[in-house]
């Protein structure tokens, strides 16, 4: 499915309230909701004949890798596609003025500026025309009535679909006692941060009984549940609750509503603004936040809204983190990151992990994975943008703790190390590890950073199978050159990382000299940021050879004899865990012969006998080795095997035995050796010695 691509499908926002005069529309954005979205016309001309000039009218969407249309339908053959792409690029480059280096943010969200432009264009067009009274073909008044549900349906999720349009919201209704929140709090009068509002105390019963900020969306049918849930969960409910809070504390919504109706009057008497919407946006903070919300969310950006002069952010998270490669038929955002560390923090809800299958939404496959979000301290943060830019973007004070933390982040250092560093040097700010963690989570959630295993010249890196080579390379070559003018070109650099003749090597091997170390690591960080490169990790299991198994079995038989035990049960256990399954029997020959001819019959019999002698015997090769999948939950027999391996096969020294058993639980193919090393704080040397000693009893896999 296309769930990996952001597709908010948001068409507009309306704010309705109900007063004793009945429901009324306060504000809608964009103003011209009557206009049908363009997407619809696109669907029919998916297939165009390959002859000629039709491409001039191909829509923007088809060239936008963030849009599903880029991937769907039947496109032309590759050569004509590339021709068009080239043309498209030239048109774009002609238009575009020199722009600042591309950032990760731009990579994932639609250009918000364009959207704003088209918006204002639209509103200019509508000057002079009477305000339309329908919303997507539905009479406005009737619709508003539907959107002000009876009280029983309020204060919970509301959703109504009228044909293909979905109206989703959280209607907020005041309670019988006139308050807006369930728990009546002790005199909220004391809390009067806003002096203007203190005039009408929140408890004065306003005539407004409910307000409802409705999000109108028209997602593709197949995804509609998913998209609406997503939007409701991340934006609709949260924003509505904030508004309710402000209403209950400061009567914010009602005072704004009154302001808006006053402004609507004023509008006729002024001549600065041409249209009402921009006038309202200018004068009313509620209108402003609704428009901002629409503009940001509909383009998959982060909405930074100022609600009653408090800054709140909302977003529908984008899926740029994957723990396994999506099927070849599943589109994903170019530049997405692939790493199994994603699995670790995927469950925290900080990031939305991408879907990999086309038809089913698969859950994270390891519910029992023993890693948790706490492990983030063993990872490092990779900022997705320039630190100073992030600081201004998130509107943090330049000398705040968060800002200085952002400046300190290095992709080569784990957060733990960072905290040690802070502790050691008292001149720096004081930050304890839990604060660091929460800052890290914050940056990750708000698309500013990515948790990665610390960059290291000893690790090996591969060109990610999800690298956006066909989609982004053309533009990125120039970007990379701009960022690292002294380095080999982007393709050249990727080539170095992916030699076809040698197994992936340590990153150090491609660094020409010690002086280049820093810049090569910087370039590596750049490549990971834009999804070109991922780290290769090693995962291990214990492998028990037949020899060990026989030995253990002998031991057990001896014990059994000695102790006069019932052996039968044990034997059963042995069979149970053995991977050998039943031998496939030789297929019997069903000779359907023709009885008419006697000779033929005899021939057949002769043949049959021959066949029996010649027929291939199909046997299953016995499993020599058994791989222990989860040593932490090994059964009695497996534990005996392990002990045998440790004590007799490898003859580990006592201290190595201790290390071995502390590491045993990680030998389940889920934890990378690199991470174990960081987590368990084992001396690298001992670790290496251990691995060498038990090498014969390990089976390892290398992937991201």
């Amino acid at each position: 499915m296309s769930f990996n691509l952001p597709n908010p499908s948001l068409l507009g926002l309306i704010l309705v309230i109900s007063t004793h005069n009945g429901p009324q529309l306060v504000f809608k954005y964009p103003n011209n909701l009557a206009v049908k979205p363009q997407d619809e016309e696109l669907e029919n001309d998916e297939y165009r004949a390959d002859d000629s000039d039709s491409d001039t009218e191909s829509s923007e969407d088809e060239w936008d890798t963030r849009h599903y249309n880029f991937y769907s339908g039947t496109k032309k053959d590759i050569l004509s596609f590339l021709d068009d792409q080239d043309k498209h690029r030239n048109i774009k480059s002609d238009k575009a003025s020199p722009k600042p280096p591309r950032t990760f943010q731009e990579n994932i969200g639609l250009g918000i500026k364009n959207l704003g432009d088209s918006q204002s264009n639209n509103s200019k067009v509508s000057i002079g025309r009477p305000e339309s009274t329908t919303i997507f073909g539905i009479e406005q008044d009737y619709l508003i009535e539907m959107l002000c549900p009876p009280k029983e349906m309020c204060n919970s999720r509301f959703e109504i679909n009228i044909d293909d349009y979905i109206f989703s919201g959280l209607p907020v209704h005041c309670y019988d006692n006139g308050t807006w929140r369930k728990k009546t709090k002790i005199a909220s009068n004391t809390d009067s941060t806003n002096l203007d509002d203190s005039v009408d105390s929140p408890r004065t019963t306003t005539s407004m009984t409910s307000f409802h900020l409705v999000f109108i969306a028209k997602p593709p049918v197949i995804e509609s549940n998913y998209r609406i849930d997503e939007m409701y969960h991340y934006v609709v409910s949260r924003l509505s609750l904030v508004l309710r809070h402000e209403q209950s504390k400061h009567d914010y919504v009602w005072s704004q509503v009154r302001l808006i109706s006053k402004l609507k009057e004023d509008f006729k008497n002024q001549n600065i603004f041409h249209d009402l919407t921009s006038f309202l946006n200018d004068k009313s903070s509620l209108c402003k936040l609704i428009s901002d919300c629409y503009n940001a969310i509909s383009s998959s950006q982060i909405a930074n809204l100022s609600i009653n002069s408090k800054l709140r952010s909302f977003q529908i998270p984008v899926k740029t983190e994957f723990y396994s490669i999506p099927d070849s038929t599943v589109p994903y955002l170019p530049g997405s990151h692939l790493s199994s560390t994603v699995n670790m923090i995927g469950k925290t809800g900080l990031i939305n992990v991408g879907e990999t299958a086309r038809y089913d939404i698969d859950e994270l496959n390891d519910e029992d994975a023993d890693s948790s979000a706490d492990d983030i301290i063993y990872l490092s943060l990779l900022l997705l943008d320039d630190p100073e830019r992030i600081i201004t973007d998130i509107k943090a004070e330049s000398d705040s703790t968060l800002a200085s933390f952002i400046r300190m982040i290095k992709p080569t250092e784990t957060l733990l190390r960072l905290s040690h560093k802070l502790k050691a040097d008292s001149s720096l700010m004081s930050l304890d590890i839990s604060q660091i963690k929460s800052f890290a989570f914050h940056l990750i959630y708000w698309r500013r950073a990515r948790a990665i295993p610390p960059l290291n010249t000893r690790s090996s890196y591969i060109v990610s199978p999800m690298a956006p080579i066909t989609t982004n390379m053309y533009e990125d070559i120039a970007e990379f050159k701009k960022a690292f003018s002294t380095m080999p070109s982007l393709p050249q650099f990727l080539k170095l990382l992916s030699s076809p003749t040698k197994k992936p090597r340590q990153f150090a091997t491609i660094i020409p000299s010690k002086d280049h170390r820093e810049i090569y690591l910087d370039a590596l960080a750049w490549l990971i940021r834009f999804g070109y490169v991922t780290k290769l990790n090693t995962f291990i299991w214990l492998k028990v050879s037949k020899k060990v198994k026989i030995k253990v079995e002998e031991d057990m038989e001896n014990e059994a004899l000695n102790m006069n035990f019932k052996t039968s049960e044990r034997k059963k256990a042995v069979q149970g865990t053995d991977n050998t399954s039943k031998v496939v029997e030789k297929p019997s020959l069903s000779n359907v012969s023709n009885p008419s001819s006697y000779e033929k019959d005899i021939d057949d019999i002769v043949m049959g006998i021959k066949n029996i002698n010649q027929g291939p015997e199909i046997v299953l090769e016995d499993d020599e080795d058994t791989i222990i999948l989860d040593p932490a939950r090994a059964n009695a027999l497996e534990r005996r095997w392990i002990n045998k391996v440790v004590t007799e096969e490898c003859k580990l020294s006592p201290e190595l035995t201790v290390i071995f058993f502390s590491l045993l639980k990680y030998m389940n193919g889920k934890n990378s050796l690199e991470l174990i090393l960081l987590k368990e704080n084992i001396p690298r040397n001992d670790f290496r010695r251990l691995l060498i000693q038990i090498e014969d009893h390990l089976i390892s896999v290398r992937h991201w």
């Binding site: 039947t74 080239d86 009479e139 197949i222 549940n225 199978p465 393709p491 297929p587 002698n613």
Partner: protein, 608 residues
């Protein structure tokens, strides 16, 4: 909770009307009393009354509303007619589902049903007639009954809608149990519903991708099938790329692509890559599944085992055993030709294959082998153990081609069909294909510096072509058609400008040219150096014909066809296509492409 077919079960169905005196009310419902205004109802009906029969403006639209834990979907119908007591009649057949369930499959049928009843009501007063006294003005009842009489059929028993109660309970039962229903309403009308799952729209496939069938496609064919579909079917064998299929079946490429996209849409196909011994594969994080997912390793064992029927090349695919699910004929060429003969070339793999390769889906636990084959074999086949297979999968890596891997692990691979082994890994996500993207340094440079070096190279080739080719008509042909169409369109003008500038000499560069003489001896490589000279800002007039001649003479001789291919190749390189795509597009082997790349200057590969 899902029905056997994977559809959300219906919780309740009700039929509501706008009662002339009591307003909106439920007339019939199933299960009984599931919805009312008391506490033990699914939800309080009064709450959503206004959404069940909304204002006339909102009627005749599909409306679904969330109420509590449920979603009510209906198609409210409003009919204005003077015969009705209130001059209008409103009704709605509503379906209740759990909220947050997938109901798309139902929505269309609900809409259709609503529309149908609207028409029947308009024509025959089918619904209002059931309680005519309530809804229809008394003076009109007789007249309406007349409408329903068919002249000459007075004495025949007329099937009429007896009760809505039985109708909706049958709907409820049938849809929940069989996902379809067929309920006659009267002599001419019936409610026929079949629920279909809805899949996402087909994705754009690439020419080099290889479809592999998951079901026996031949069994699906019926007379109504699209001719292209039937034409391409025999060539879908898990080896031919889409482009190849379209060529072999002599069908239009775009049509072929569309057919395959549709087959994939219905899950009849999966997509793999072209198998070649020069491919690189590496394990994914899902390799664990091989050890964990029940039956996966057994399926693998039965799929990949190689019966080595090289002697039996008649392709006898009739399956002796009755099961018919698995066709084990494939004595695959991949292994038969071996990495030593047909390897590395794109076409090398494309020899004869056994018939239908049923993928993982069709394979049960057992192996069925036709007796015919057994006759020709006289030895023991050892099915590799699971640990061995796992070991083999994990030993694939980013820095090794299949050929190298094969040579290294030869002793274990005796009974393994390598192509199947790889395909099984790909289809189950155990391994992934590491694609190779050829990169031409010239392309990189011209992007970095935002100039047209690459077009100059093309120009040089063209000039060379002109000088060597006497057949000027032919050339013109190329110039006017191919060039205009295929080279970067806007650069055409620029290059022409530049060409004009060649007419006057610019001596100042001669010195540089002399000093560059050495590197020029390297042949084509020198183009890079010289074009680097043009990079200087004042380069518009800097190209001296002498240099050009020099360069041009260094270029190898090429024919017209080669030139056309070269243009295509450059275009593909600028689009950063992988080698499979390039080979498929140019219909050349990898070695041929490599030599073409060498003519264009220094190059390399990114393996991703």
């Amino acid at each position: 909770m899902e029905t056997s077919d994977g559809f959300t079960p219906i919780i309740a169905i009700f039929y509501a009307v706008f009662h002339p005196t009591e307003g909106t009310k439920i007339v019939n419902q199933v299960p009984k009393d599931s919805i009312n205004t008391t506490a033990n109802s699914l939800f309080n009906f009064n709450t959503i009354k206004n959404y069940i029969i909304p204002k006339p403006h909102l009627c005749n639209k599909l409306i679904s509303i969330k109420v509590g834990k449920y979603k009510v979907i209906g198609y409210p119908v409003n009919i204005q007619n003077d015969n009705y007591t209130r001059n209008f009649f409103n009704f709605n057949f509503c379906f209740v589902f759990p909220y947050n369930s997938e109901t798309i499959s139902y929505e269309l049928t609900i809409k259709r049903m609503g529309k149908m009843f609207k028409v029947l009501e308009e024509q025959n007063y089918l619904l209002s007639n059931l309680s005519a006294r309530l809804f229809i003005k008394s003076e009109n009842i007789k007249q309406i009954n007349l409408i329903n009489e068919i002249p000459g059929f007075k004495n025949f028993k007329k099937i009429n809608l007896s009760s809505i109660d039985s109708l909706i309970s049958q709907l409820y039962q049938d849809l929940n149990n069989y996902s379809e229903c067929c309920i006659p309403l009267d002599s001419a009308n019936s409610i026929d519903i079949k629920l279909f799952p809805i899949y996402p729209a087909p994705l754009n496939l690439k020419a080099y991708q290889v479809p592999i069938s998951m079901v026996n496609l031949n069994l699906l064919v019926d007379v109504n099938w699209d001719p292209t579909m039937i034409k391409i079917l025999p060539y879908i064998n898990g080896i031919n790329s889409i482009k190849k299929i379209s060529e072999l079946s002599d069908s239009d490429y775009l049509l072929t692509k569309q057919c395959i996209q549709h087959l994939m849409h219905y899950k009849c196909l999966q997509i793999i890559d072209i198998f070649q011994f020069s491919n690189i594969y590496a394990p994914t994080n899902n390799i664990v599944n091989f050890l964990k997912v029940p039956n996966l390793s057994e399926r693998c064992q039965s799929y990949i085992v190689n019966y080595d029927m090289s002697s039996n090349n008649r392709g006898n695919s009739t399956n002796g055993s009755g099961s018919g699910t698995v066709n084990t004929t494939a004595p695959t060429t991949a292994n038969a030709t071996g990495p030593n003969t047909g390897n590395n070339t794109f076409t090398g793999v494309n020899a004869r294959v056994g018939s239908n390769i049923t993928g993982t889906g069709g394979i049960g636990g057992s192996i069925s082998i036709s007796p015919v084959h057994l006759k020709e074999l006289g030895r023991t086949i050892k099915v590799p153990s699971k640990t061995l297979l796992f070991y083999l999968y994990r030993s694939l890596n980013q820095g090794q081609t299949v050929k190298q891997w094969y040579l290294q692990h030869k002793k274990h691979l005796k009974f393994i069909d390598i192509r199947r082994f790889i395909n099984f890994g790909i289809l189950n996500g155990l391994i992934y294909r590491v694609h190779s993207y050829p990169i031409l340094n010239l392309v990189t440079k011209s992007i970095e510096n935002n100039n047209d070096e690459i077009n100059e190279l093309i120009e040089n080739f063209r000039t060379k072509l002109t000088s060597t080719n006497v057949n000027s008509i032919n050339l013109k042909d190329i110039n006017s058609n191919i060039y205009l169409k295929s080279i970067v369109n806007e650069s055409n003008l620029k290059t022409n400008n530049r060409r004009i500038s060649f007419n006057y000499q610019n001596q100042q560069f001669d010195g540089i040219i002399e000093s560059d003489e050495d590197s020029m001896n390297d042949g084509i490589r020198s183009i890079n150096n010289e074009t680097a000279v043009d990079d200087s800002p004042e380069d518009a007039q800097s190209i001296v014909p002498r240099i050009r001649n020099h360069e041009i003479n260094r270029l190898p001789n090429i024919s017209n066809d080669e030139f056309v291919d070269l243009l295509k190749l450059i275009k593909l390189l600028k689009g950063f296509q992988n080698i499979d795509s390039i080979c498929t597009e140019l219909q050349r082997s990898r070695t041929e492409i490599e030599s073409m790349l060498d003519t264009l200057g220094s190059n390399g590969y990114i393996n991703s």
